[in-house]
Symmetry: C2
Subunit: 341 residues, 2 copies
């Protein structure tokens, strides 16, 4: 039985999204048991033989500072959900709440793995090959050293090898050109460490990749610091929504374009489905002594169910052990990296 | 008469693109005179009363290192074009060649303005409001201090006020959140400097913006370091081309979707036209004692003509004086910024 602790109160919509998603998820996963964490009034009507309600009186809001979430709301649904993982009552926790708070609480309660200085957030972006590219870090760490980026590469590699069943996933270093002489000082140092890791067989290092390569699917994993990753993610969301908005407004222009829209609708909706970001919902917080997944705050029930699926797959495939093993295997290199920066 | 020096050999296509663009440009600009710089064999057939051919025996290739371009090819079309600006024979130079080489040669020949440590590359990206957002830097400077970013803000402001005829353009600082406490150390310092500049009236500082705000058109100018700017630009190009590629492949799927494509074609092509990146071709190299514009290397004749138009507008509206004046006006602040970092 795989046990998942779900922060039912988190995200923009709370239980109105998380509970329907949980019900769907339970139907598709007969060996899953859910610990629904949240305020009892919201959860008591949810009955299911494979569900346990775990009460938590407080809720971390999207506006709460890390300080407030961590120090003042000790009985929040987010914190209680992560506590289930720490106590061994659940194998993984999932929340759609405030990212900064989730990262801080997870780090405080679970601690990082040996050899890892900072946890990272890894998410998937769709690519032209019809698959997904895993990108990390996405906002947890803004000032990174080469050593941190090496750790992200090792953890991302473990994640993709477990979740996409791919033995030696290709790792690319996000840069402003393919040549090794390109980039900032930190990126050049990181390139050296990654090449060394590749030579030792700890990683399948492809080399530098550029922003557009994320969507070409040139590599399985793209490593970057949290500042660059966050800007790249949001910039691409921005351009995608501009294009979709442009399509809608062009098709609404007059009666002829509205007719054209009717004819083109099945084609456009097939495309939207292929690129539906909800299918890629569920980011992993890597580098902790326990599994935590983060859903988009604005997720609807379908998107939140995808995050539950990813968390379930991670738990079922022992992601935690895999990350721990790969980090331990790369330990001499990580230590050398730490010494050299 | 506005005189433009054109590197006719630069870019992926050389004279086969630059010369037709020059001919179109001359038709639309009766007060323009072009100095066509390049190998005589390629240019001698181009006759026009407002054209002078300036011979240059060498060509900087897209693969040449900065070193090769600067030290070994002293008679390159790129260098000779910039020399025309230095000598006062032209008000502005335009090249579609190798960005690194162009920046290095321009900086070597023209030198930077007083108060400016590093030139920056400023380009435009389309936004949802139907206008364009100017983003800088885009690859010239990977490791930037807060002081450099402040200089970029002042220069970007001058550029937009001249080219878009907008007195106090809004400047945003690219960050991973709107709150002032967000971001890396350099970004937080930059925020302080920009707020100070705003308070002094040297800039119209809006505050932090996120990646998606570039495309929302929240501000006129987005300031970032060259690493982040380059990744954001290429990532958005990547996602846009994935969406366009997806549309094409969905419409080609079968006979019904092909018919739908015929019906939808006028609508889709109107959208493509609105978002056509060729309309935004022509990046300014700012901070030099002379005007230089950079075209995309892969530009076609229409795109290269747009770069010529932008260079012409910049020269006609005295962009150089405007940048010099704004930099001089902000001099006490720039000096204070330099002292504080």
């Amino acid at each position: 039985m795989i046990k998942l602790a779900v922060d039912c109160m988190g995200g923009d919509h709370g239980p109105s999204v998380t509970l329907p998603a949980c019900r769907q998820f339970l139907e598709h996963h007969p060996d899953a048991h859910l610990l629904l964490v949240g305020q009892e009034a919201s959860l008591r009507d949810f009955r299911h033989e494979r569900v346990t309600v775990v009460p938590a009186t407080e809720v971390v809001s999207m506006e709460d500072s890390v300080e407030t979430a961590l120090r003042r709301k000790k009985d929040s649904s987010m914190r209680v959900a992560i506590q289930q993982v720490k106590d061994g009552a659940a194998q993984v926790a999932i929340s759609a709440g405030n990212t900064g708070a989730l990262m801080a609480i997870a780090r405080y309660l679970l601690k990082t793995l040996d050899g890892i200085d900072r946890p990272a957030i890894a998410t998937q972006m769709p690519n032209e090959k019809g698959g997904a590219t895993t990108v990390l870090d996405l906002g947890a760490n803004v000032d990174c050293t080469a050593d941190h980026l090496l750790q992200f590469a090792v953890m991302g590699s473990a994640l993709v090898s477990v979740l996409q069943d791919c033995e030696q996933p290709k790792v690319g270093l996000l840069n402003i050109g393919e040549e090794v002489i390109k980039g900032s000082e930190v990126i050049k140092q990181t390139g050296e460490l990654l090449r060394e890791a590749g030579a030792r067989g700890d990683l399948n290092f492809y080399g530098n990749v550029e922003g557009n390569d994320i969507f070409k699917g040139v590599v399985d994993i793209v490593v970057c610091d949290g500042f660059v990753g966050n800007v790249a993610l949001k910039a691409t969301e921005g351009v995608a929504s501009m294009i979709v908005g442009g399509l809608k407004s062009e098709f609404k222009r007059n009666i002829f374009t509205k007719l054209a829209a009717l004819v083109a609708y099945p084609v456009l909706s097939a495309l939207m489905k292929r690129m539906d970001h909800r299918r890629y919902n569920g980011a992993a917080l890597l580098g902790l002594r326990g599994l935590v997944f983060k859903s988009h705050g604005s997720a609807d029930a379908l998107a939140f169910e995808h995050a539950l699926n990813r968390a379930y797959d991670a738990a079922r495939n022992n992601l935690l052990d895999r990350v721990r093993t790969q980090v331990a295997h790369a330990a001499p290199l990580l230590a050398a990296g730490a010494a050299s920066v």
